[in-house]
């Protein structure tokens, strides 16, 4: 049976993890490959790097850390943040990423999704959707790191992105992100019910029960979190134990193998 995935997310700027992590005292103050290897050893099913480098020169550094990470952690790696073209996606894949997530550039140029899927296969194309609740009970797509409104309906955009070739959706609730108020399971349910590709839940994780809710109530196939892992509030093993106790299929055991 296909396992529900638990995915730590690392925000990377100019080659460093920028959010504080509980490993800071142990290794090189947030070297991404070091942290990635640590999470892999702790049972992470996959890793996501989001490049938040403000300057273009950060990109070369990103490719270098993607390659170092791919050579350290033998689990899948998705890289997102600022990818705007087929050529940029090619560079990130060749550096060692398995999937690339598109966000702002896909909203600006939806055909980019189709071009990337045609070139690399839809399984390599993740579309990241940052969504915010509207007063009429729907969700609007935001871009540029949640700064800009688009007027796009998030559920409609999700279905459109999949039609164009997205093989997976990374759905972040901007309302919940960083709040530790739990995932927006209504948003997740609305999107997972509208598409047949896997949906990764993001934004709002506070504890293991939230991961269970994202899957059971939200229909998510995978659950992503950053700060609760970085700050050592919960381990991946604790999250997986709660998911298993709730009857969800998770990958256990290989950590200690």
């Amino acid at each position: 049976m296909l396992r529900r995935r638990v995915i730590p997310c690392l925000d990377v700027a100019n080659g460093r993890v920028v959010k504080g992590t509980r490993f800071v005292d142990l290794v090189d103050e947030g070297d991404p490959p070091e942290l990635a290897a640590r999470y892999a050893a702790e049972g992470a099913d996959e890793l996501v790097f989001l490049d938040i480098s403000a300057a273009p020169e950060g990109r070369g550094t990103l490719l270098e850390i993607v390659e170092r990470t791919a050579r350290r952690a033998f689990i899948p790696l998705t890289v997102g943040g600022g990818v705007r073209s087929v050529d940029e996606m090619r560079d990130v894949l060749r550096a060692g990423a398995d999937k690339v997530s598109l966000n702002t550039a896909a909203v600006a140029d939806p055909a980019l999704i189709a071009r990337c899927a045609a070139r690399f296969g839809r399984q390599a194309v993740v579309v990241a959707i940052d969504a915010r609740r509207t007063v009429d009970g729907r969700w609007e797509v935001l871009v540029r790191g949640g700064r800009d409104s688009t007027g796009l309906d998030a559920v409609g955009w999700a279905a459109g992105a999949v039609d164009l070739g997205a093989g997976e959706l990374l759905v972040t609730s901007i309302d919940r992100d960083g709040t530790q108020a739990g995932f927006d399971t209504d948003l997740l349910r609305a999107i997972s019910g509208a598409v047949d590709v896997p949906v990764i839940a993001s934004g709002g994780a506070a504890g293991p029960a939230d991961f269970v809710a994202a899957v059971v109530d939200g229909g998510a196939d995978a659950v992503l979190a950053a700060s609760i892992f970085h700050r050592g509030i919960h381990t991946i093993a604790e999250v997986k134990a709660a998911m298993a106790a709730a009857g969800l299929a998770v990958r256990l055991g290989s950590v200690a193998a």
Binding site: L2, A70, R94, A95, R119, R122, A124, G167, E168, D196
Partner: protein, 254 residues
């Protein structure tokens, strides 16, 4: 990816090349076919980690000069563009001859699917080494099939030595091969997503896995170490590859 072909770059003669295994002798030379723009860093690193030397091949000439001990065909995506790129590189005939000669081959994901006769995805005609076709995973709750899933073995085999009988491996695909009845003995393991499909095949020195061992943690490395061991000694009893895998597992734990 910093490798630049059979004889140059990081994969050919760079930091990883010539790494000795636990016995201090160079590992077998594994030619990895590079015919697209995908991630080859992972398979390069994983094979190197378990003691192989890796050479990227992009043309028939590359393959001819490497004197490789084994051939690995990785890849993701659709069959037709992959076959077109292999054709453009002049690699279809050399790969077919390699397999026909009974030399060690490991197909990963698309590299397994290409062994079948054709793909329903885009009507591509593929290598036809195995009787059967590649078809969509109909009835699956989600597609692509992305994530860790159980690989349930039909029979013991050295490729899976030291790996639990229904261990999890990482999958990323929407299509999978179905063996015709007269080739069904090739099936080594099955996985279920919507429907059951063959997730590993083994016929003598011909191997294929639908999952990605290079992205499947310690069990994936163990499988690649087993493959390298089989290449080294056809009875699959190589101590050195198994020792390399143990080193890796110790390193992952440390």
């Amino acid at each position: 990816m910093t490798g630049n072909g059979a004889a140059g770059g990081a994969s050919g003669e760079g930091a990883n090349a010539g790494r000795a295994n636990g016995d201090g002798v160079p590992g077998p030379l594994v030619a990895v076919v590079d015919y697209g723009a995908g991630n080859l860093v992972s398979i390069d690193q994983a094979l190197t980690t378990v003691g192989a030397r890796v050479a990227l091949v992009r043309s028939a000439d590359d393959l001819a000069v490497t004197a490789a001990d084994a051939l690995v065909v990785p890849g993701v995506g659709a069959a037709r563009p992959a076959m077109e790129r292999l054709t453009d590189a002049g690699l279809v005939e050399p790969i077919s001859r390699w397999i026909a000669a009974g030399r060690p081959y490991l197909g990963v994901c698309l590299g397994l699917q290409l062994l079948f006769e054709g793909s329903d995805e885009d009507r591509a005609v593929t290598l036809g080494v195995l009787a059967g076709r590649t078809a969509k995973l109909d009835g699956a709750p989600t597609l692509p099939h992305i994530g860790w899933n159980q690989v349930e073995r039909r029979r013991p085999h050295p490729l899976f030595a030291g790996i639990a009988p229904a261990a999890d491996f990482y999958f990323v695909h929407s299509y999978a091969g179905s063996l015709d009845a007269n080739d069904s003995e090739a099936a080594l393991a099955d996985t279920t997503h919507g429907r059951s499909f063959v997730s590993a095949i083994a016929v003598d020195q011909l191997f294929g896995v639908q999952f990605h061992p290079e992205r499947s943690g310690t069990d994936g490395l163990r499988l690649l170490a087993n493959f390298v061991g089989i290449v080294r000694s056809p009875d699959g009893s190589s101590r050195s590859a198994a020792r390399a895998a143990d080193d890796v597992r110790a390193g992952v734990r440390a």
